[in-house]
């Protein structure tokens, strides 16, 4: 859902005095909205950085020199680097079939793609425990072949793929449905091959929506906690992602280090939001130049 802020609306409303609220109500509403956002968003966000820097910059930086922290950062990026391309390919493929063709059972398929959003992250982890755990379907076979999925990197990647599964598809399906199929049909009728059509017509049309979906997938992949927590086994330096490392440090009352690692994740979240706004802005510009 790329929402394009209609700034023209504000000017339209401002000109019509009959439907504008008195100034004091306006400021009261703005103050209440900002007060609510302050209590629930801005103050906690500021607290992350303040707590992290409480004992000075040297202690802050020392938290990142820990080998366990470094390996957690590395694992977090690895899991995201595997999960994002997998779900990217799936998202494009699903959106192509769903948006460009009419077939029976389409709405059921869309609902099924949404399933991981409705499932608690803890249950997302649990399902893989039930399959790959020692009591699970493949548990015996895996342990006899000395191959670990659970409490190892493959389990973490699987859980990450599960929780980020719908993002790209969810962005692309409405976008590609809205764009219709005339341009692609024209390309095929004029003799383009399927791949030529995809690279030259489809991809340029969906690039902003695709990028938006990838940004959301990546943010969730790097930050996932519940699902990864169930399958990881919390082995330090081995199967700890950065969010799990934050939990361990926090539970050891090592608050400065916990908030230091948290501040890195918060920084990544802010970068995500900035990129997201940039993509929305670009997409809005692309729409206005096409019109």
């Amino acid at each position: 859902m790329i929402t394009i802020t209609a700034s023209h609306y504000n000017t339209k409303v401002a000109h019509s005095r009959a439907i504008a609220e008195p100034a004091w109500i306006r400021w009261l509403l703005i103050a209440s909205a900002l007060g609510f956002l302050g209590l629930f968003l801005f103050v906690p966000l500021a607290a992350v950085f303040t707590e992290a820097l409480r004992k000075g910059i040297a202690v802050y930086l020392a938290a990142f020199k820990e080998p366990d922290a470094l390996s957690a950062i590395w694992l977090t990026f690895t899991a995201a680097a595997i999960a994002v391309p997998l779900n990217l390919v799936f998202g494009v493929s699903a959106a192509w079939a769903i948006a460009k063709f009419d077939f029976k059972g389409k709405s059921v398929l869309i609902t099924l793609i949404d399933l991981p959003f409705a499932v608690s992250p803890v249950i997302a982890g649990l399902v893989y425990v039930l399959i790959f755990g020692l009591q699970g379907w493949f548990g015996g076979w895996l342990s006899s072949h000395d191959y670990k999925v659970l409490f190892a990197v493959p389990g973490i990647v699987l859980a990450t793929v599960f929780v980020t599964f719908p993002f790209v598809a969810r962005e692309l399906i409405p976008l590609m449905q809205a764009q219709g199929k005339e341009e692609e049909e024209a390309a095929i009728v004029l003799g383009a091959s399927g791949w030529q059509m995809f690279w030259r017509v489809t991809l340029p049309n969906i690039k902003w929506g695709l990028l938006y979906g990838v940004i959301l997938t990546n943010a969730r992949a790097m930050g996932e906690f519940g699902a990864v927590s169930v399958v990881s086994g919390h082995i330090r330096g081995m199967t700890n992602t950065l969010p799990l490392h934050v939990e361990i440090l926090y539970n050891e009352y090592n608050y400065v280090a916990a908030f230091a690692c948290a501040s890195l994740l918060a920084f990544l979240a802010l970068v995500t939001l900035a990129l997201k706004s940039l993509v929305e802005w670009q997409a809005a510009r692309a729409v206005t130049t096409n019109e």
Partner: protein
């Protein structure tokens, strides 16, 4: 591929893309989820029933569903307010604040959890201010509500905002010219148009809050019968190797989630057919 299932088209790639979609969906989502249901059929009905209705489990449902409901209601009210202010008014820093509304989507839940705990504990910035009034947030059920409000915050704003932007000023002007007060216009003209979006955002926030784990466990205190949420109970059972118990509770939560998903889809269908969005 059964071609009678689909209408003819000159575009290529239907078979491979649909085939891959169904294959990948089955592999990652459908087979693992059905494993949970199949596992639960291995227990007797009595085992299942006593696992999902134990007093400690019932207390966790009350907290998870109750706190999620309160959080979603808070978000419905303030989400509408934030969306209204962002669409209708101009004030300094508006674009920055608009972008920051999505923070709960982007911020890892564990980070949100420790940040909220730091702010709302009795030594924290907000917790120390409200403590003299006898209000304790961190390590009480109130803390669970705070965390669930945080993670559901963007849903209502982001579903209501586009509808509010598309609302025609003419309808409001007509109401005003017919003598309606601003408040009457809001109740009788604006709110009915926002209703489906508001309800969708509310259900999304509610559904997300029920399953939430990361942001809650730090602030909740996790006392059995008092401040222990259902997802945490699943993990506790799992750590005690009580697979039957964990799976049974998970099945209950999955059924509730699926029902909510159906309701949300119905709501979205309703709003798109009623207002052509």
């Amino acid at each position: 591929m059964n071609l009678t299932l689909k209408k003819p088209s000159v575009l290529p790639g239907f078979g491979p893309t649909l085939g891959y979609t169904i294959f990948y969906l089955s592999l990652i989502v459908l087979i693992p989820l059905s494993a949970t249901f199949l596992k639960s059929t291995l227990f007797t009905w009595d085992q299942f029933w006593s696992a999902v209705t134990a007093p400690r489990v019932l207390a966790s449902y009350r907290l998870s569903f109750g706190a999620a409901l309160i959080g979603a209601l808070i978000n419905a009210f303030f989400g509408l307010l934030v969306a209204w202010v962002l669409v209708r008014y101009r004030f300094p820093g508006k674009r920055l604040i608009d972008a920051l509304v999505d923070l709960p989507f982007a911020l890892p839940t564990a980070v949100a959890g420790i940040a909220l705990t730091a702010v709302y504990s009795t030594h924290g910035w907000i917790g120390s201010v409200i403590e003299p009034w006898g209000i304790k947030v961190a390590f009480t059920p109130l803390g669970v509500i705070v965390a669930l409000t945080f993670i559901g915050l963007p849903f209502v704003v982001r579903t209501v905002q586009p509808v509010l932007e598309d609302l025609e000023a003419e309808a409001e002007e007509a109401a005003a010219s017919l003598g309606a007060s601003r408040l009457q216009t809001f109740w009788k003209v604006i709110l009915p148009a926002l209703w489906p979006a508001l309800l969708t955002g509310f259900s999304l926030a509610f559904a997300r809050a029920i399953g939430e784990y990361g942001s809650v466990i730090f602030i909740a205190g996790n006392m059995p019968m008092v401040s222990e949420i259902t997802p945490l109970l699943i993990i506790t059972k799992l750590e005690q190797y009580d697979y039957a118990g964990a799976t049974s509770i998970a099945v209950v939560m999955l059924v509730v989630s699926f029902l909510l998903l159906l309701i949300i889809n119905g709501l979205q269908w309703w709003s798109s057919h009623r207002y052509g969005r």
